[in-house]
């Protein structure tokens, strides 16, 4: 479970010679509660999941559990659905992260400036994130994207274009749009809080020195946002790898496997098929994959994190 992080790559730049008790208290015991709580949480279910993944264990089949070795893993690796689902998972993450960061930065630049009602507008911009995933998916699917009665169809028809079957023709893109809409609120929340802590005088001084808006953006704002962007990327990646509700509500993973990600693949095993053994194997596989992704991601953003 532990993320593999070689100690060698740790940037260790602390000049901390004093080895008194106070210091070790500050850098060890203060972390202990967090680590302890999560250790308990993570280890027990993970060990159980790992254990179940080697068993034939179906909730609805009461015939009994038996040890089947690697059968469940073989099942996953012998079907092409695992690779497709893993690829879709990554596509969703990349698509949503790019969209939310791009749109997020644009919005934040607009909202950082004072204008009448700007503080209210800021809160509104965060509000898509307040909508529960199921609700967001239902609104988009029925009220907006429905190819017959949806609002977008009405607008398209008004200008003489036919309605589009969004979830049939562009299943993954439609889902990415819905998720990105929700998570733009998150990137606005993080980036705005960070941008507002940027010294306004610094910007004004630069402007007085004759720096153009682009130069201010490129050399003052963007570097300042580097760490918050890193945070957005990390946190979104973690959450989006296990996106589920939006797919469940809209396409059920289809047509075919076009919009099935790893979570949905596991859902089918766990809660349609009630095959705990297979679902556990899928869970173990996706934990490993997620850690691989996180490892490379951490490498990529570690510069901006300055850890």
């Amino acid at each position: 479970m532990n993320t593999a992080t070689p100690a060698s790559q740790l940037a260790n730049s602390i000049a901390a010679p004093s080895a008194d008790n106070d210091r070790s208290f500050r850098n060890t015991y203060l972390i202990a509660p967090s680590v302890a709580v999560l250790l308990v949480w993570i280890s027990v279910p993970t060990i159980m999941t790992f254990w179940f993944s080697f068993q034939h264990y179906n909730l609805v089949n009461t015939a009994g559990r038996e040890f089947v070795g690697l059968d469940n893993y073989i099942y996953f690796f012998s079907s092409s659905s695992l690779a497709i689902a893993a690829f879709n998972s990554v596509l969703i993450v990349v698509g949503v992260v790019v969209l939310t960061i791009g749109i997020g930065i644009g919005l934040v630049l607009l909202l950082d400036i004072e204008f009448p009602g700007s503080s209210f507008a800021r809160v509104l911009a965060i509000s898509p994130f307040f909508i529960m995933p199921t609700v967001a998916a239902l609104i988009w699917k029925n009220l907006l994207l429905d190819p017959v009665n949806g609002l977008f169809t009405t607008i398209l028809r008004a200008v003489g274009l036919p309605g589009v079957d969004w979830f049939g023709v562009f299943p993954l893109m439609s889902i990415i749009t819905i998720i990105a809409w929700q998570w733009v609120g998150f990137s606005v929340l993080i980036l705005l809080t960070a941008l507002q802590s940027l010294d306004r005088e610094l910007k004004e001084a630069a402007a007085m020195d004759g720096a153009g808006s682009f130069a201010i953006f490129r050399f003052i704002i963007l570097p300042h946002l580097a760490r918050p962007i890193g945070i957005v990327v990390m946190i979104e990646t973690i959450f989006l790898l296990s996106v589920f509700a939006e797919i469940f509500v809209t396409t059920s993973g289809g047509p075919g496997l076009a919009s099935t990600n790893l979570s949905f693949l596991i859902y089918v095993q766990a809660l349609l098929r009630f095959d705990v053994g297979l679902a556990s194997a899928g869970g173990v596989i996706s934990i490993i994959l997620a850690n691989v992704v996180a490892y490379f991601l951490a490498k990529a953003v570690s510069r901006s994190l300055e850890i």
């Binding site: 079957d165 496997l257 076009a258 089918v268 009630f274």
Partner: protein, 399 residues
């Protein structure tokens, strides 16, 4: 039921906490609890699919020993059989449904068509082509297209059955590569591509009902329970023009119309089985059905379970489709879904635990064919391979 149950609470002094969930969520919630012996529920709502499987698993308390004045024989036999296993009744039906063809009388009149009492699939195809008018957002035929064992498989299976097909033969060998499947699925894909609404692969029952209610469909073949909504002017734009007839048949009459019941059952893990029995006896009784009619209007009574419901003059007056539904339910026999004998029960499902994942997979494959991502042949071949492997793994057929 929730509103009226306060009567029962007052009468008996027991109180009920309700948990209402969407179908899939309900199934996962209840299955998780009951299989881990969680004991969270005293009464559960289950469908025709679960009742025999769970009964066999010894998860449910049999309910054939209620008080002497509970009228079992009044419950339709086909419905009772669907909820029993090895002759023991494990759940009491709350309402039951079959399927029928809904159509728009106004559109049919304009096109000069008279809908027969028993249409065939050929006729349905012909009518669909005549009323199909996509420029005015009228689509000839709407069907469920969203992949899922309880979604697109429903219209597909009724068609497969009436084309003479089945899920498995008596040796549990999957039959998806057989002629009837091929004919039925080709027809389904063709009809939807030619006369179906756009985006049909994301339409489940709910979405399709909304489509028909908003006047976008010429015909719709689906559950009888939708009639109550389509005839209600507060919910439906087409309340005055909706007509109905039997679900279409092709080669054989078996399994052309679905049968499904929602029923109340008591988990073995319940510690209050006696009180629970009292409640479900009340909630599925003749007297309860009558009191719903008196308090909530006769059209709203839970249909399809009891002969006495259809003897109520008030219901016959309020619901023009009442007798029709009764006939459909009586003629749909879940123990004989196909013209050939089969080892399972169920018209749109097969009463084995593995069916959920088989139905989901086959539904996905066919949806991909409707979306044009693969041919019908490829979809059925993939479905057959998956089903075969699942059955082998579960030990039904030898490797």
């Amino acid at each position: 039921m929730q509103e009226l149950s306060s009567e029962w609470e007052q009468k008996t002094g027991n109180s009920i906490n309700w948990l209402v969930l969407e179908e899939n969520v309900l199934r996962q919630r209840v299955t998780t609890d009951i299989s881990t012996n969680g004991g969270q529920f005293d009464i559960i709502t289950i469908g025709s699919y679960e009742a025999p499987i769970w009964g066999k698993n010894d998860w449910l308390t049999p309910v054939d020993d209620l008080s002497a004045d509970y009228d079992y024989n009044d419950i339709f036999e086909t419905v009772r059989k669907g909820l029993s296993v090895d002759g023991k009744l494990y759940a009491l039906p709350f309402y039951a449904e079959s399927s029928m063809t809904y159509y728009r009388k106004d559109l049919f009149e304009k096109a000069g068509i008279t809908m027969p009492d028993q249409p065939t699939y050929d006729q349905i195809a012909e009518y669909a082509s005549k009323v199909h008018d996509p420029d005015n957002q009228i689509y000839g035929l709407c069907l469920r297209g969203k992949p899922g064992s309880g979604e697109n498989i429903v219209p597909i299976m009724t068609s497969v059955n009436t084309h003479g097909g089945k899920w498995f033969d008596m040796n549990w060998k999957p039959q998806l590569d057989s002629g009837p499947w091929h004919k039925a699925v080709t027809l389904y894909v063709d009809l939807l591509n030619k006369y179906g609404p756009p985006g049909v692969t994301s339409n489940g029952y709910n979405e399709t009902r909304a489509l028909f209610a908003s006047g976008k469909c010429g015909m719709w073949i689906d559950a009888t329970v939708a009639a109550g909504y389509l005839f209600d002017p507060a919910e439906s734009k087409v309340a005055s023009s909706v007509g109905f007839t039997s679900a279409p048949i092709a080669d054989v009459p078996n399994g052309a119309a679905l049968q499904w019941a929602w029923a109340l059952a008591i988990p073995k893990s319940s510690t209050k089985a006696d009180i629970a029995k009292g409640f479900i006896a009340w909630a599925t009784s003749k007297e309860y059905i009558r009191s719903v009619g008196e308090k909530k209007g006769w059209i709203a009574i839970p249909p399809g379970t009891r002969q006495s419901t259809y003897d109520l003059k008030e219901y016959q007056d309020a619901a023009p489709f009442a007798n029709f539904v009764k006939t459909a339910i009586l003629s749909a026999d879940p123990t004989k879904p196909s013209v050939d004998p089969v080892p399972y029960m169920g018209i749109t499902y097969a009463s084995i635990p593995e069916y959920q994942s088989i139905g989901t997979e086959v539904g996905q494959q066919i949806a991909a064919a409707v979306a044009g991502q693969q041919t019908v042949d490829a979809a059925l071949a993939a479905g057959q391979a998956f089903t075969l492997r699942t059955m082998e793994q579960s030990g039904y057929t030898k490797k």
